[in-house]
Amino acid sequence: MMTGAPRTLVIGLGNPILTDDGIGVHVARAVAETLPESSGIDVIELAVGGLALMESMVGYERVILIDALYAAENETGRVRVFDAGDLASTLNTASSHDADLPTALRLGRSLGAALPEDQAIQIVGVTAHDVLTFGESPSPRVRAAAHGAAELVIDLLGVPQSEQAAHTLT
C-alpha cells in the first residue's frame, strides 16, 4: 500500500433504509462530520458482510465497526463495545451468501492478507429492535443512542476535543 495512507478505518454497517438496521451508518456519518480533515482516518458505509467486509479491512492496522445488535424492544438503545475476538455475530457482520466475519478473517489471514488483529477490530454495537421495516430513520430510542455511540467512537479513536470539528447529530 501507499506510504502515509490511512491506517485506521471506521465502518458504519447496515442498511440506511431499514429503520434500526441503519444505525451503524447514521453513527458513522456523525463520526465523519466530527473528525478533523487531517485525522487520516477513513470512514466508510457498508451494507455487506462476510468476505466483502473482511476485504474492506485489508491494509488497515485498526478498524472500528459500528453495527446494530438485535435485542428485545426494552433493551434497545444501549451501546456496547467488544472486539472481533469476542464476536459471535452482529446483525450485519455475516452474509447469508458466504461466510461470517470470523471465518472470513481467518481465511484472509491464512492467505497472507494484511488484516488487523482481532483485538484491533473493535465493534461498537447499538442494540436495536426493528430491523425488518423499511424506513429511513431509526426508531426514537435507537436514534437517541446515536450521539453517545458517535462520542464513544471518537473517544476510542483518541481524537483530542480541541481537534474535533463542530458537529450536530440528528
Partner: protein, 490 residues
C-alpha cells in the same frame, strides 16, 4: 473493561430461517414447513417517490445481489419511460452484469455450496466452510477466489460508478461510458475469469465427479424432483442472464411456454399459505396442486440447473463444451437432480466469463453513446433479469409525472419457494426416522436448499448473519421433541 458477549443463534432465530418438521405416531415425517422472516413496508416506502430512484433504492434491499436489482430496475425504467438504450448502453449493462455473475457464482461455489463436496457432507461443521475448501484444495484456491472477487468488484465499480451499490443504470441506458484504459483492464479480468472458471470445473471434475459416493448423492432419489423449469433465453434459445424471453419447459423437457417478461402476470400466479408470508408462485395454466412435483403441479424452479434445462445450449464455445459434458454425464435434459445445480453454476460461471470477454473486446463497448434520453410520459415498466439465484422481475406503475403508484417485485428465492420447500420435505422424509435428528442429518437436509443459493435477505431483506437455521421436530401431538440449530456457513 471488556465484556464478552455471546449471541446465541437460537435467541436470534426469531425472524430467521426455520424448518419445522412434524412427525406422525411412528416418528416418521408427516410434514415440513420452511419459514423465513417477513420484511415489511417496501411498497409503502417506494410509493410517492420518483420512479428513477428505483435502481438505487432496490439495490439496497439485498446485501447479496444489489447488481441484479439495479439491472432489473433499470430495465423496468426503460419500459416505463418508453425508451430503448443504444447498443453500447445495453452492452455495457451486460458487461457489468457478467462481471457480477463471475463474482457471485464464484463466492457461492467456494464458500457455501462447494464445502459439502470438497470437504464432505459429513465433515464437522467447523470445517465445512471456505477455510475447509482451502485446506483441501490448497492456498492457491483461496488466493484465486479472493483475487477473482477483487478484480470483478473493481470492474463493477468502474462500470457501475460505485462499489456494492451501483448507480450508473438510468432509464434509457447508463450514466457514463468506459474509456480504452478501463476496457483494457476489464478485458484482462475477463481473460483471468475464463481461466479461473475452467480451473473450477476441473476441480469439480477431480473432487466430485471422480468420487462415486458424491455422484451417487447427486443422482440419488433424496435430491431428485421433477418440476417445471424457467429461465431467460436469447433468440437462439441460449442461456442469457441480462435479457430475452422467459422459457418454461415441462418435467419431460418439452417447451411449455415462451413469453416476453412483460407478460408474466398472464403466466404466473401466487399461492398463499397461512404459515408463511413468502408466497408460492406457480404456473397459472397448470394450477397450484400443493407442494408436489410432476406434470400436473404448477410448481417451477428457476436456478442455474433450470436455466440449463430450458436452454438449447450456451452461447459461448467453452461453456457449450462444459454444458454438453454436464448433460452427457447426468443423462440428458431435463436434469432433475437438485445438487447438480452446483455443477450447473460452474458451467454458467464459464459462460459469464466468456461473455464478459466477448463484450470487453467488442469494438463498440467504448462508444460514448450509452444513453437515450427519455421524452415520453411514463406509464408502466416491467424489467426482468436472471439473478444468479433465479428469475427476478420488477414491476412499476406511475402517474404522468413519473411518481410511483405501484411496485411489485418477484425475486429469485420467491420463485423457488415451492421447490425449496419440496426439496426440504423430501430430504427430511428420507433422512429422519424414529424422530432422530443429528448434525449429519441436519446438514444433509440443509444441502437440499443450499444448492438453490437462497437469499433470505433478498426475499425478505434482513441481513441475517450466518443464515442460522433451526430445525424443530414435533411429535404427533404437536409437542416439540427435538430442537437443533446450526449455521449453514460455519
Amino acid at each position: 473493561m471488556k465484556q464478552r458477549i455471546t449471541i446465541d443463534p437460537i435467541t436470534r432465530l426469531e425472524g430467521h430461517g426455520k424448518i419445522e418438521v412434524f412427525l406422525d405416531e411412528r416418528g416418521e415425517v408427516a410434514n415440513t414447513y420452511f419459514q423465513i422472516p417477513e420484511l415489511r413496508g417496501f411498497e409503502v416506502f417506494c410509493l410517492g417517490r420518483p420512479a428513477e430512484e428505483m435502481p438505487r433504492i432496490t439495490n439496497r434491499i439485498c446485501g447479496v445481489c444489489p447488481e441484479a436489482h439495479h439491472m432489473a430496475a433499470s430495465k423496468a425504467l426503460d419500459m416505463l419511460f418508453h425508451v430503448e438504450p443504444p447498443p453500447a448502453g445495453k452492452k455495457l449493462r451486460e458487461l457489468f452484469y457478467s462481471a457480477f455473475y463471475c463474482t457471485d457464482h464464484t463466492t457461492h461455489f467456494y464458500a457455501l455450496g462447494g464445502p459439502d463436496f470438497v470437504v464432505g457432507p459429513d465433515a464437522p461443521a467447523s470445517q465445512r466452510n471456505i477455510l475447509g475448501v482451502v485446506g483441501k484444495v490448497g492456498v492457491e484456491a483461496g488466493l484465486k477466489v479472493i483475487n477473482t472477487r477483487k478484480a470483478n468488484h473493481e470492474v463493477i465499480k468502474i462500470i457501475g460508478g460505485r462499489a456494492v451499490h451501483p448507480v450508473a443504470g438510468l432509464p434509457g441506458g447508463m450514466s457514463k461510458a468506459i474509456n480504452e484504459e478501463e476496457r483494457q483492464f476489464i478485458e484482462k479480468v475477463a481473460r483471468d475469469n475464463v481461466e479461473f472458471a475452467q480451473w473450477s470445473l476441473e476441480i469439480f471434475d477431480q473432487i466430485v465427479l471422480k468420487n462415486s459416493v458424491y455422484v451417487d448423492l447427486i443422482v440419488g432419489d433424496i435430491y431428485t424432483q421433477r418440476t417445471y423449469y424457467m429461465g431467460l433465453v436469447d433468440e437462439n434459445n441460449h442461456v442469457n442472464f441480462y435479457d430475452g424471453m422467459v422459457r418454461v419447459v415441462d418435467p419431460e423437457g418439452n417447451e411449455f411456454a415462451k413469453y416476453a417478461p412483460q407478460d408474466y402476470l398472464e403466466n404466473i400466479a401466487e399461492h398463499v399459505e397461512p404459515y408463511s408470508y413468502l408466497k408460492y408462485p406457480y404456473l397459472k395454466k397448470v394450477g397450484w396442486k400443493g407442494i408436489v412435483d410432476g406434470k400436473d403441479s404448477g410448481m417451477y424452479a428457476c436456478t442455474p440447473m433450470s436455466r440449463l434445462n430450458v436452454a438449447d445450449g450456451m452461447a459461448t464455445p467453452k461453456a457449450q463444451e462444459a454444458y454438453e459434458k454436464y448433460l452427457a454425464t447426468l443423462g440428458g435434459k431435463p436434469v432433475h437432480h437438485t445438487l447438480a445445480t452446483h455443477w450447473a453454476r460452474l458451467v454458467e460461471l464459464l459462460y459469464a466469463a466468456e461473455r464478459m470477454l466477448e463484450l470487453a473486446t467488442d469494438p463498440e463497448i467504448t462508444s460514448p453513446n450509452v444513453r437515450t434520453i427519455p421524452t415520453e410520459t411514463p406509464t408502466v415498466g416491467i424489467g426482468t433479469v436472471e439473478a444468479p439465484r433465479g428469475t427476478l422481475t420488477h414491476h412499476y406503475e406511475t402517474d404522468e409525472r413519473g411518481i410511483l403508484t405501484k411496485v411489485n417485485l418477484i425475486v429469485g428465492t420467491t420463485n423457488n419457494n415451492a421447490p425449496i420447500t419440496l426439496s426440504i420435505k423430501k430430504a427430511a422424509a428420507a433422512l429422519i426416522h424414529d424422530g432422530i435428528v443429528n448434525e449429519g442429518i441436519l446438514n444433509r437436509v440443509e444441502m437440499a436448499f443450499r444448492s438453490y443459493d437462497p437469499c433470505f435477505s433478498c426475499a425478505t431483506h434482513s441481513l441475517p448473519g450466518q443464515m442460522p437455521l433451526e430445525v424443530v421436530v414435533h411429535n404427533a401431538a404437536g409437542e416439540v421433541i427435538d430442537r437443533r440449530s446450526q449455521h449453514c456457513a460455519l
